[in-house]
Amino acid sequence: MFKRLTGSFILILALRAGFGASPERSVIQISNFSQQPVWDAPWRFESVRRSSGTGFVIKGKRIITNAHVISWARQLLVHKFQDPHPYLAHVVYAGHDCDLALVEPEDPKFFEGLEPLEIGELPQVRSTVVTYGYPAGGEQISYTRGVVSRIELQSYSHIGNRAYLAGQTDAAINPGNSGGPVIQDDKVVGVAFQGIPGLENAGFFITTTIIKHFLEDIGDGKYDGFPQAGLRLVALQNPAYRRDLKLPDNDLGARIDHIFDVPTSEELLRIDDVLLKVGPYDIGSDGTILYEGNRVFLGAAFSDIQSGEKVPLKLWRDGKESDLSLPVYTYTKDKAEGNQYDILPRYYIYGGLVFVPLSRDYLRTLGSGWGDPANAPLTYELFYRKHESPETARQEPIVLASVLSHAVNANFGVRAHALVDRINGVRIDKLDDVIRAFAQDTGKEQHLLQFQPDHTLEALDKKAAEEASAEILKTYGVAKDRRL
């Protein structure tokens, strides 16, 4: 008993010594009653789910939190520290790529007596931080203390296909902590956002560089997102490769191994160009830069720049240095490869055949992992084809997600999870092509559909399908045959 009291005493003292103010008053609990769409039956929604996260007040009478805390919200409630009254709130901005969002309570009185927390700088590794939040395991605010273990690029799991700077701490970060502030010297130095299953004593927080970028981005009233240069940059440490490029042996420079379909990068850069400097940062031969005292992958340098701005580059090409100003923009062509939010999934139903764009969200409905042999053709189509053979890649691969069974399609042999190749001879590159292909007059009484990868052929009686369409939609409770 004595020991426990002593322990608590020291903790309280330490907290008081660390913080003159009371940041916990500005830390908000957020309840999200969300409903996600069903990606393989996009007119339906999952059942309503309640989840809880954290946010905190910043200047401008807004609450910042994680985008994953507020995604697919039907109703948001925000709760003040030790205040039983729930306040309705709505999302003002959501940056799903950087997992940050701004929430605004409906009632302006919410902010009475609340002081905004100030956003600080990138914390030093080994320095002490305290996380504030409402994690699982209790109803009251929780504080956990830890050190900043390291700062480097991490994959942001909310979007799934982006990596930005993140801090790692051994302060406990648990479900419910998401969106809560990580505080040092009364200032916010991060937003708690994710953990890694199986990794103990390691929680991750979004660094202030990313938070400031997000806040600056929305300054013009809309969120653009982080720009992407569309480059695969790799270390350049092999002496032979450096000699081949006539590059001095000075441990500087990362090589462009691949340029994705980003027009400005394709126009201005070449494979085997060597980046020596991005903005103010010299690039090491291992592909890292020294970013505010932390050795991190050079991708972090692009986080300083807003979409539409130019990033100054020093590069090595044809045996000499040159300077370049590279405009960078938000890249959306790979959105299907990441988790998608805010916009309901698109679909088209014809004769009970349900067509949806292939996406990471759709693949998740298949249950087993993407590497599962049954899902391999769709996984390849989504993630590999455009890199390996761009000439055969489709703008928006379309999947026959399911068949709403009816007499007209009872004999249709393909029932689900099949990539649509052609309909009535029209190559299906996007969802609009499905509608166009069914509408065209082929002079035949049947529509012919071809599927990949096995070239399966299935026909559907045109007249019967058209006559049955309304009845099928009614039977299955589908209000509209399409969402485009």
């Binding site: 092999n238 399966t456 052929l457």
Partner: protein, 500 residues
């Protein structure tokens, strides 16, 4: 004439009865099979495909059944890369054996023993012409020196993917709760061999049926040995009348629809969108089955090998563009190299080529099996996905960069692995031989190695003048005897034996 035919029929019928009786009453069923079923001990080399120069030797035991001509019939399974075969009758001494014929696709082999003493006191089993479609059979095996007889119930004869091949073959499925089955145990009825067990899945034993065995042994007498064939077209069932109507078939639906034709190494008169109505005179139903005179409904794939062999012609009646016609289809030979990622590499050391620490290997299923039996889930996705790709003339096979053995020469590349090789010095790479040839085209003293575009490293540059010295240094440091093992597929032991 009619009378003579009837007499002959009666004679055959009565001789069968006599045979059964004779075995039961006079020779004793158990004694007969004790002298017919033998234990085959196989010593063989096992390779670690991720370190292809490394090998170990293991030993296993399976069953063999003595047949006519001083030969022992067994399955081909586990006989690849063998170094020693020994034979044991009952609990007696071991004799050295020798494989006289093996067909991995058929999963069959024959073994003989040059020592005449081995054959003393043995009996030979007759291979039944047709497997029964129902009833109880006996499974015979030696186990810990005791000959076991267990009842197994005939379930069905089904055509499905063979254990060691991509070809669909007839299997006799039997119900049994016995464990540890699949080692060429004899499935017998009286003094007849009905099948050889190949695998057990849950309660079902798969076995190679007698009729198929007889066909293979008959083919063995051909010069040259023809081997199994297969149909190089992919079809789908035609249960959707709308599809048949679209393709121009009138009347009652039957046949199947061709959707894909393999064109890499074989030519085919059958084309996508043909409706196959008949093969070798047998009508094909919408499920893809034909009515087999011996076994009832069987998958059409069986007609590639039922009475034919690779290289022979089968007549196929099709509907093309609404018109019926008959085409002559030459059955292509089943060879592992037809596939982009060969299913097996038998009786050969794993091929590799080590260049400056870069270990290159052909992408094969045995290589992928380094990730375990569940390799198609656990192996790197892109490598496993290659098994789904169809080989073409332009892209017949893959070479994979398996790993990089660290050395100052390859510093910066040590983490590169499991990458499909695209080009060396601008030349497209399909084989290790392509790589070796590509080395001649170094530009300005550098090799440019390119990997297939994917989600990781694409290009590597190596110093051409230092490559050989680095290779020698790496061989010494890592205790590897040679920088390459290359073998020609035509020099395989199986092919040699098949021709003998």
């Amino acid at each position: 004439m009619i009378i003579r035919f009837l007499l002959l029929f009666l004679f055959l019928l009565s001789s069968g009865v006599v045979s059964r009786r004779a075995l039961a009453d006079e020779k004793n069923f158990e004694e007969f099979w004790e002298k017919t079923v033998v234990t085959v001990e196989v010593t063989r080399k096992q390779y670690d495909y991720l370190q292809p120069w490394s090998r170990r030797v293991d030993q296993l035991q399976k069953m063999g059944t003595i047949i006519d001509g001083h030969e022992i019939l067994t399955t081909a399974d586990h006989l690849a890369n063998r170094t020693l075969i020994r034979l044991q009758k009952g609990r007696g001494r071991w004799f050295q054996g020798e494989v006289t014929w093996i067909d991995y696709h058929a999963n069959l082999a024959t073994i003989t023993c040059r020592d005449e003493k081995f054959w003393e006191g043995t009996e030979k089993a007759e291979i039944a012409k047709v497997a029964p479609r129902r009833g109880t059979l006996q499974l015979v095996r030696w186990r810990s020196g005791i000959l076991e007889f267990r009842n197994v119930e005939v379930n069905r004869l089904v055509v499905k993917r063979g254990k060691l091949t991509f070809v669909d073959l007839p299997h006799l499925e039997l119900d049994s709760d016995m464990q540890g089955i699949g080692w060429a145990e004899a499935i017998v009825q009286d003094d007849k061999l009905i099948a050889l067990a190949t695998a057990k899945d849950d309660q079902t034993i798969s076995s190679v049926p007698c009729s198929f065995i007889r066909g293979c042994l008959a083919d063995r007498k051909n010069e040259p040995y023809q081997g199994l064939g297969y149909f190089s077209f992919v079809w789908q069932t035609a249960e959707n009348p709308d599809t048949l109507a679209y393709l121009g078939q009138e009347g009652e639906p039957h046949g199947v629809v061709v959707i894909e034709v393999q064109t890499n190494k074989v030519s085919s008169p059958v084309r996508p969108r043909d409706i196959i109505l008949e093969i070798d005179g047998f009508s094909i139903d919408v499920q893809g089955d034909y009515k087999d005179p011996d076994y009832g409904n069987l998958l059409l794939e069986n007609l590639a090998n039922r009475t034919k062999r690779a290289g022979e012609t089968v007549k196929i009646k099709i509907v093309r563009d609404g018109k019926e016609m008959t085409v002559d289809y030459v059955v292509p030979k089943a060879e592992y190299t037809v596939e982009m990622v060969p299913l097996a590499v038998n009786d050969r050391e794993p091929e590799y080529y080590l260049m400056g620490g870069f270990l290159f290997q052909p992408l094969t299923v045995p290589y992928l099996q380094s990730w375990g039996a569940d390799w198609n889930r656990k192996a790197p996705f892109r490598l496993a996905y290659a098994t789904r790709e169809e080989a073409t003339k332009e892209k017949p096979s893959y070479v994979v960069l398996s790993t990089v053995l660290p050395d100052p020469f390859n510093i910066g590349y040590q983490d590169s692995r499991y990458l499909l090789v695209d080009k060396l010095n601008g030349k497209t790479i399909h084989t290790l031989q392509d790589l070796i040839a590509g080395r001649q085209d170094a530009q300005d003293g550098f090799h440019l190695l390119e990997f297939k575009e994917g989600d990781s490293l694409r290009r590597v540059v190596l110093d051409a003048s230092e490559t050989d010295a680095a290779t020698q240094r790496i061989l010494q440091r890592y205790g590897i005897e040679k920088d390459r093992v290359l073998s020609s597929p035509s020099a395989t032991a199986s092919n040699k034996l098949a021709r003998d």
